[in-house]
């Protein structure tokens, strides 16, 4: 019970802080939109190739925008020294991880909600909200699970902006492949496709478990 209360308190603090400072949401949202617009102009989109290009463009926009936000969540705490203060509290480190993960999912989720209709309009594709929801949810969970752990690791270094993508990108490749292919299947149904959603869910479980177990060692000296 105390664990949950502390998770909610940290999450509440992060959301309130972000609502007032507006550091992440605006930057992430604008970045995602810019990527979608640039891709829209870069590719020669036709009816026959849109199903192959659009999912990739969507997930590149989401992944890049996510990394912008993921880099800030723990780095911002480190910069003002408040991470030390949080570590001084008798709080289970898993509660800190879980709260940061939920916060990251929320921030990325808001950006995705804003970006999805714009993506549908720019690429002239249907949204498939019901079918797309589990793909977006599970993929965002996987990206945020890895990103939260490695943002804690990168935040302790000087080259954090450079280090975070280098650490995170290789690990989330399976999730990105699964998300792109699963989204592509919605636009152009194919036969004999592997169960992409199941693959993403399996990676989520692995990443979440490893991150929860190792966060304590990453965050403390």
């Amino acid at each position: 019970m105390i664990f949950l209360e502390q998770v909610i308190a940290i999450l509440w603090k992060d959301v309130r802080y972000e609502l007032r400072s507006k550091q992440m949401w605006t930057g992430m949202g604008l970045f995602a939109l810019l990527v979608l617009v640039i891709f829209n102009f870069t590719f020669d989109l036709r009816v026959d190739n849109v199903a192959a290009i659009a999912p990739g463009a969507l997930w590149v926009a989401f992944v890049f925008a996510s990394l912008l936000g993921l880099g800030r969540t723990i780095a911002a705490e480190r910069e003002i020294g408040s991470m030390d203060r949080l570590l001084l509290c008798p709080v289970d480190r898993k509660a800190i991880y879980l709260a940061k993960l939920l916060g990251n999912m929320l921030f990325i989720g808001v950006v995705e909600i804003v970006a999805l209709p714009i993506f549908a309009a720019l690429f002239n594709v249907p949204l498939f909200v019901g079918a797309l929801l589990p793909i977006v949810l599970l993929s965002t969970l996987g990206i945020a699970a890895v990103g939260t752990l490695f943002s804690a690791m990168a935040a302790a270094t000087r080259a954090r902006e450079l280090l975070l993508p280098i650490l995170v990108f290789p690990l989330i490749v399976p999730i990105v492949i699964g998300a792109v292919r699963a989204t592509g299947t919605l636009l152009a149904p194919a036969v004999n496709e592997p169960p992409w959603l199941g693959l993403i869910a399996a990676f989520d479980v692995i990443f979440l478990t490893v991150s929860m177990l190792t966060f304590e060692y990453v965050i403390e000296e």
Binding site: R16, L88, P90
Partner: protein
């Protein structure tokens, strides 16, 4: 069997004593020989710490009994802040050990966190949250009971009742420092470790802080603080320790010291 009943927040009553079987306190496994009038203690033995190849602390031995206030003096880089960070559990010692009320600061870190309040050189507050929101948040982290009452009481005591709903970002440096002290006292810790607590405080702020610290030691708590002001060290402490290059080079009771003598010694040893 260890009894951690004393770890719960008591919101200002006389601090209770942590005991093992039969009421005897065992500091990190050894029988306590301290008198019963000193229920709390902080003890460091042979603490060492290096950053890379540079030794920062070299075998520090330190003991604080309940109700005692100790000033830690030393030039920049003497190791004062590192010593405090080790004692609060933010930095792990390279060698040696430290016990707080019978609990090892490394092995029993989670329990020790309930016993210690820390005011660092940086305020460690969320500047986009209000003073009250900061206290509520940390109250939840320490599972403080009646957090609303406790936060209001502390804001009143540090003279910030009118600024309770103002964001920390708009508070002055002195007000932020007072709020930091309120946050450190929120969970009624037995031991206060303060890194230059006077930073940014005006005379009124100093008086308020002094009254709070007086109240803390009167309830049996201990205070270990660093300062660069020798006069303040004499005013606020019961004994004075000087660090130089990670070693304790001077240790004396305040009663045996006068300001000019202290200044002379400080110049000689640092």
């Amino acid at each position: 069997m260890r009894n951690f009943a004393h770890l719960s927040t008591n919101n200002g009553e006389m601090y209770s004593r942590g005991t093992l079987s039969g009421g005897q306190v065992y500091p990190c496994g050894r029988p306590d020989t301290r008198p019963a009038s000193s229920p709390f203690f902080l003890e460091a033995k042979g603490l060492k710490k290096s950053f890379g190849l540079k030794p920062v602390l070299r075998s520090i031995d330190l003991t604080l009994s309940g109700g005692e206030r100790v000033a830690l003096l030393g030039a920049n880089g003497a190791g004062k802040t590192t010593l405090l960070r080790i004692l609060v559990g933010l930095t792990k010692p390279g060698a040696g050990s430290a016990c707080i009320d019978g609990l090892d600061i490394v092995r029993d870190a989670q329990q020790v966190r309930h016993l210690v309040g820390f005011v660092a050189h940086q305020p460690y507050l969320y500047d986009e949250l209000t003073a009250l929101e900061n206290l509520y948040f940390f109250g939840k982290m320490y599972t403080v009971k009646n957090i609303q009452e406790r936060a209001s009481l502390l804001l009143d005591k540090v003279g910030l009742e009118k600024s309770a709903r103002e964001r920390v970002a708009v508070l002055s440096r002195g007000q932020v420092q007072r709020l930091s002290l309120a946050r450190a006292l929120l969970h009624s810790p037995h031991h206060l470790l303060l890194d230059e607590p006077d930073t940014g405080l005006d005379q009124k702020g100093r008086d308020l802080v002094e009254a709070l610290l007086e109240e803390h030691t009167a309830r049996g708590g201990t205070i270990l603080f660093t300062t660069h002001q020798l006069e303040r060290a004499l005013q606020m402490s019961d004994s004075i320790i000087m660090l130089n290059k990670g070693r304790i080079v001077f240790q004396k009771k305040r009663a045996d010291l006068e300001l000019d003598k202290l200044q002379k010694t400080y110049q000689e040893v640092t």
